[in-house]
Assembly symmetry: C2
């Protein structure tokens, strides 16, 4: 019913603590190995990274390329369909910045960016 469906669908896909960040890195770097993604997001555990990548793969957002070799090598990249999410991620990123600024204007000019900065660094 009513647009709820679209929002719910989108939230199911990019909901989860790390999915947008994963997509952001894949957008920026094109193709990334598992370990590269891990290094790009030091806080995420392997379990979570695996789980979220599997979900994104299931929804045809990311492509998983397996190289049968020792040591193993797996590369992730955005599918064409997944690339369609770019506007959503951009809009989210833009508004996120605006919101962080807005917070500083609301809760004090003294430390306008310190708080935000402390949150920004991973």
């Amino acid at each position: 019913m009513s647009a709820n469906c679209e929002f719910t669908t989108v939230l199911e896909i990019l909901g989860g603590k790390w999915k947008p960040t994963i997509m952001y890195h894949l957008f920026s770097n094109g193709t990334m190995r598992f370990s590269e993604l891990q290094r790009a997001m030091p806080e995420i555990t392997k379990k979570m990274l695996t789980a979220q990548l599997r979900e994104l793969e299931y929804h045809d957002i990311v492509h998983r390329e397996i190289y049968q070799q020792i040591p193993p090598k797996v590369e992730y990249s955005m599918t064409e369909h997944g690339k369609g999410l770019t506007p959503v991620l951009m809009a989210m990123n833009d508004w996120g910045k605006a919101h962080l600024n807005h917070l500083s204007t609301l809760y004090g000019e003294e430390q306008p960016l310190n708080e935000a900065a402390s949150n920004i660094e991973g």
Copy 2:
């Protein structure tokens, strides 16, 4: 850095099962009473609607106007800051439609648009 902060921030705000839908209705209708929102989203419970509205209010996304009278009357509307989320919601909605279409091309042509159309209508 890592833009993780922006995404995490945005997801905290419009994460939750109903927030985007609530905002969508407030965008469309301008100002709505509690009971109107309930009617617009029959599936949501009062507890959840209240909780999510409080969170949106806390983040300065929605404004809560209380009329001191019996019976009580409370009106909700988007703040100027909250209206900045329009591009995000639009992008989400657009991609949600595209994704529903994409699903039908992946998993069967039989009911390509009917299902999506019935869901889109509001």
